[in-house]
Symmetry: C2
Subunit: 327 residues, 2 copies
């Protein structure tokens, strides 16, 4: 609290010194306490210049994701056991996969400032310019059978949806299985890559991409109708470390719930956040193309779709689009 | 047919010449036709020495796996689209996985004469000396959802069991999920490694290891109580290419059946070949250790186990052993 107030006061006079005495008077705390708060801000990634004679001045805010800031914001969580912050990578999924193959434990988190070939679903590429998004991959080793792996995809969507809502207060919904949409436009991508031996899941790499501070100019024009960012939607810069921390907190909570109580509670949360249910849609599945109305999830995580003849079919994998006119 | 008769005649006089005239008389075909048959045998891996003056003599039979022999034996099958025969590899799984990542299509088959670090279930190593076994990996790209992948493990066990029974006439049974046993000893290993993106299976590498012509001296002494080979059990050398071809034929048949009719028929076949069912056993699952009697598979491929209190639980993943005394 004091912390935020100090930043506000320093920001009122960019690159100008504010005396320790002035800060002390304003916050009604001792100059030693001010000094302690300044140290804390520095550990969070704020660059503050201190002069015994002139006071303090703010040189830069933590626009870069930094380890001290992240660790601070993850205090009290237990899931993440190590964080690797990288500048530029091909894809955080590739880095995490290599580490997982080498035995990296659950909770190994890879975050990159920039991806040169970020991977989306179905081998699609993903726009991930430097410094404007959260591109991260988390190694998981859940002790669950392979059959249940798709439930984790739905769990990750719920966790990210709740995280982004808490950070921005925007209206965000889940399109089956794991796209997050604001007003019909995509705000993030989730990709869970699973590796199994027979019926045993070896590891899962949860890849999360969030378009945080991308501006309209960052997108190819043809994507502006289907993609957006938290900045575009909320009108303000969002701290990327807040997005990372909020996701990890939500995920940790839901993952523990899932391990204890199974898929039931996740299913309920997913259904509540979904924008897919109760709307006629067209599905392209390996078994063929058909129209129907998704009405919920089954206990395996399959989407239950009611067809026009009244029958209800479980859909494990499909692409969706608007129904054909008159269809 | 003529072909087999020629080999028989040559084998009657090992390393001795049989004149073209004698063969021609015996088979009632021209000497040119004999020459053509000899060429065909050579293409199948038989080493035959020809002398214009003395005739033909058989130097060696195709104990090496050769591509012409394999292709001949796979005639009429459609699943295998390319075969890579390798001398020594770390593990055929690794080779197949690399190729699959590079886009190798379904039906890419990797066979090695020798593996330096063959992989078994649970990261165990696998004894795979040169020239004495079938060590192979098959790339599959089944259009099925991830949830169903464990069914392929059971399908592979049925295919291999049927193949080995047809080649040897030995009594072979399946221990859940996919170990093949002769008199309680392990004869082969199956390892299906699956890779998925969200709910979509990208590819499956079916790894098959069969101890074909291993002798007792090929095993570390501590393994002789738990492992055996087709040679030890049947008393005779088995052509490795027959094992490969028989497996591919059975697998192709069952895989097509599975794609058309689902898991039902596979489940029935698996249950009929199982040596696991209806015997009290001890299970070590991620959820804990318990005793029960496996009574069948459910429609997902989970093992149904009846506990002493009469309840029936589905087991997705577990290790099994004999029940504790008095347990």
């Amino acid at each position: 609290m004091n912390n935020n107030r100090i930043i506000e006061l320093l920001e009122e006079q960019p690159r100008q010194y504010v005396s320790g005495e002035a800060l002390s008077r304003e916050l009604q705390i001792s100059r030693t306490a001010i000094w302690k708060q300044i140290k804390k801000l520095e550990s969070q990634g704020f660059e503050i210049e201190a002069s015994r004679r002139l006071g303090y001045r703010l040189m830069s805010k933590p626009s870069q994701l930094t380890l001290p800031v992240l660790l601070k914001k993850l205090e009290g969580t237990a899931l993440v056991r190590s964080i690797k912050l990288l500048d530029t990578v091909d894809s955080t999924q590739n880095v995490a996969q290599r580490l997982a193959e080498e035995g990296a434990p659950e909770g190994t988190l890879i975050i990159a400032d920039h991806q040169t070939s970020g991977r989306g679903r179905h081998g699609r590429s993903w726009v991930s310019p430097a410094g404007k998004g959260v591109w991260m991959s988390l190694v998981l080793r859940p002790g669950i059978p392979l059959q249940f792996a798709p439930q984790l995809t739905l769990l990750a969507a719920v966790a990210l949806c709740r995280a982004l809502k808490s950070v921005t207060s925007l209206e965000i919904g889940i399109k089956w299985p794991n796209d997050l949409l604001i007003g019909g436009k995509k705000i993030s991508g989730i990709l869970l890559e699973s590796t199994a031996e027979d019926e045993r899941l070896r590891y899962v790499i949860a890849g999360i991409g969030v378009s945080v501070n991308l501006e309209r100019g960052d997108y190819p024009p043809e994507l502006l109708d289907v993609a957006t960012s938290l900045l575009i939607e909320s009108g303000g810069q969002i701290e990327r470390s807040d997005v990372v921390a909020a996701f990890i907190r939500e995920f940790e909570h839901l993952y523990a719930l899932y391990q204890q109580e199974g898929f039931g509670p996740i299913r309920t949360l997913w259904e509540a956040l979904s924008v897919t249910l109760h709307k006629l849609t067209r599905l392209y599945s390996p078994a063929g193309e058909f129209e129907g109305t998704p009405i919920g999830l089954d206990e395996r995580g399959a989407l239950l779709v009611k067809k026009s003849d009244g029958s209800i079919v479980p859909v494990f994998s499909a692409e969706m689009s608007a129904p054909k006119a008159g269809g």
